[in-house]
């Protein structure tokens, strides 16, 4: 294990429920109450170093926010250039939905084409520096893509565990990095349970199990960048797809941090909107029922990357959606595919099914009259369409012609 100099800005891990404190180490649940652990920062210490100028002078990646991430100061970063993805002012989609200030944070532009590169870059950097030899994850696909790629770059052994039925595109895009790819006969929830049990037995760094508090911090950079790209201000509303709810919670934290540190002009935490697929909508159902107790479901949806029947942060999503004045909404399978096509047709962005859920919910809310038209709304596009291409394959329309000018003219005349 390398001699390490923990960041003086990181206090350790703190239980979100009972406040118990732990040093920064592998472990994701409070030993006292089983509640989730979060990284705790000394914001006075962060405030002494961080500034807009220092961020702007940093690398053109999410690591320009290193002062707000839990990696040791002397640790080298395992990076493929993640983050600083485009924030697109969506004029054409906005016109269709009656939103003049609609923005898309296109995180499908990350190195392995999903937002998971952010969280994995943090987790694998931390694991390598702390001497782990094996990294792994429980994944619906995107996380496996990212973990396998970053493990390859870090030179670490890698085990990725996925449910049967994962899209072939994601399996191919993972196996090319030559991890140990394990497919479990069951759902993601089965995979998750298995990995939680394996993490108890083996000295491995599971990105989203025993490294989860550290890993999750990477999600915050999506919201930091959004604020920076909007000219250092927070949007009025953010639309985020909900699987486990892990990133939703971190976006709330990121907004609070930006306000606390004075990095954004005065304002308030954005209203947070969670998007689910009706075929796996336990968080939406809890929100509708007015409870924060999320009842697990058996997932059945094409939005496999967010098909999590027992979402670990579901309760917090419900609470934060309410607390910020947001909500949780859901769309059906046809609406998901329609939304993928709508985004492609109007903005030239091809997103996967989870992005279809996000845009589907955005469109549904817009058509129901949620917005006046001037609100600044940002939708997070978290994964690329080629990862779930089969859901739009039937629309691959084409005409076939002979290689002659007359044939071309004839085609135009039809």
């Amino acid at each position: 294990m390398a001699p390490s100099r923990p960041s003086p800005r990181v206090l350790g891990l703190r239980c979100r429920e009972c406040g118990a404190e732990y040093e920064l180490r592998p472990g994701h649940v409070c030993e006292a109450c089983f509640g989730p652990l979060d990284v705790a920062y000394d914001y006075a210490a962060v405030g002494r170093v961080v500034s807009r100028e220092r961020i702007a002078a940093g690398p053109p990646s999410m690591w320009r926010y290193r002062d707000l991430l839990p990696l040791d100061d002397d640790a080298p970063v395992v990076s493929l250039g993640e983050g600083m993805t485009p924030l697109v002012h969506a004029h054409r989609l906005g016109r269709e939905l009656g939103l003049r200030n609609l923005y898309l944070k296109n995180d499908s532009m990350n190195p392995t084409n999903s937002f998971k590169d952010r969280v994995v870059s943090v987790a694998v950097s931390w694991a390598r520096w702390r001497g782990f030899e094996v990294v792994g994850c429980a994944s619906t696909g995107n996380l496996a893509n990212a973990t396998a790629a970053y493990a390859a770059q870090a030179g670490l052994a890698c085990y990725v565990v996925l449910p049967a039925g994962t899209e072939e595109e994601k399996l191919v895009a993972t196996s090319v990095f030559e991890p140990n790819l394990v497919v479990v006969r069951g759902t993601y929830d089965d995979v998750n349970r298995l990995c939680a049990m394996v993490a108890d037995e083996l000295p491995w760094a599971f990105c989203n199990v025993n490294l989860r508090p550290i890993y999750a911090e990477g999600s915050k950079t999506l919201t930091y960048e959004t604020a920076e790209q909007l000219g250092w201000r927070l949007p009025d509303e953010i639309v985020v797809p909900i699987g486990a709810g892990c990133q939703f919670v971190r976006h709330h934290r990121a907004a609070l941090e930006l306000l606390e540190l004075g990095l954004v002009e005065d304002g308030s935490v954005p209203r947070l909107i969670g998007a689910q697929a009706l075929g796996c909508a336990p968080v939406y159902r809890a929100f509708l029922a007015g409870t924060d107790r999320v009842q697990p479901v058996r997932p059945d949806t094409i939005a496999r990357s967010i098909a999590i029947g027992n979402p670990s942060d579901g309760t917090y999503v419900v609470r934060l959606a309410r607390e910020t004045g947001g909500l949780v909404e859901a769309v059906d399978e046809a609406e998901i595919v329609d939304a993928i096509r709508l985004l492609a047709r109007t903005e030239g962005i091809f997103t996967e099914t989870a992005g279809g859920v996000t845009i589907g919910v955005l469109a549904k809310l817009a058509r129901a009259g949620r917005w006046q038209g001037d609100e600044v709304v940002v939708a997070y596009i978290t994964g690329h369409g080629l990862k779930t291409a089969e859901v739009v394959a039937d629309g691959a329309r084409r005409v076939e012609i002979e290689p002659s000018l007359s044939a071309f003219r004839q085609m135009l005349a039809v």
């Binding site: 939680a196 709810g245 892990c246 009842q295």
Partner: protein
């Protein structure tokens, strides 16, 4: 006998044991039996109303008991009950 699989954070209660077999006909009485042998488990697994705590998942032979009969689930010899912290994944 049905057997509990104990997660790392709770093994301090079971004197380090990763698996504990108990004599019981249903899940509720199995938790009582576990608590009788290693006091403290019941309070960690169940809330004041006697229902599984928010952050505790109980799996009977790989099936989340909340998708089935919950604490009333009948047990057979050889059944495995895995106690798994809820917060993982995503």
């Amino acid at each position: 006998m049905p057997t509990f699989l104990i997660p790392g954070p709770l093994r301090s209660l079971s004197a380090g044991a990763a698996a504990v077999a108990v004599e019981a006909a249903d899940l509720r009485s199995a938790i009582d039996a576990l608590d009788a042998r290693y006091p403290g488990f019941k309070g960690r697994l169940l809330d004041e109303e006697g229902e599984p705590r928010q952050f505790v998942n109980l799996f009977l032979n790989d099936e989340d008991v909340r998708l089935g009969r919950g604490l009333d689930s009948p047990l057979a010899p050889g059944d495995e009950i895995a106690i798994v912290p809820a917060v993982a994944g995503g």
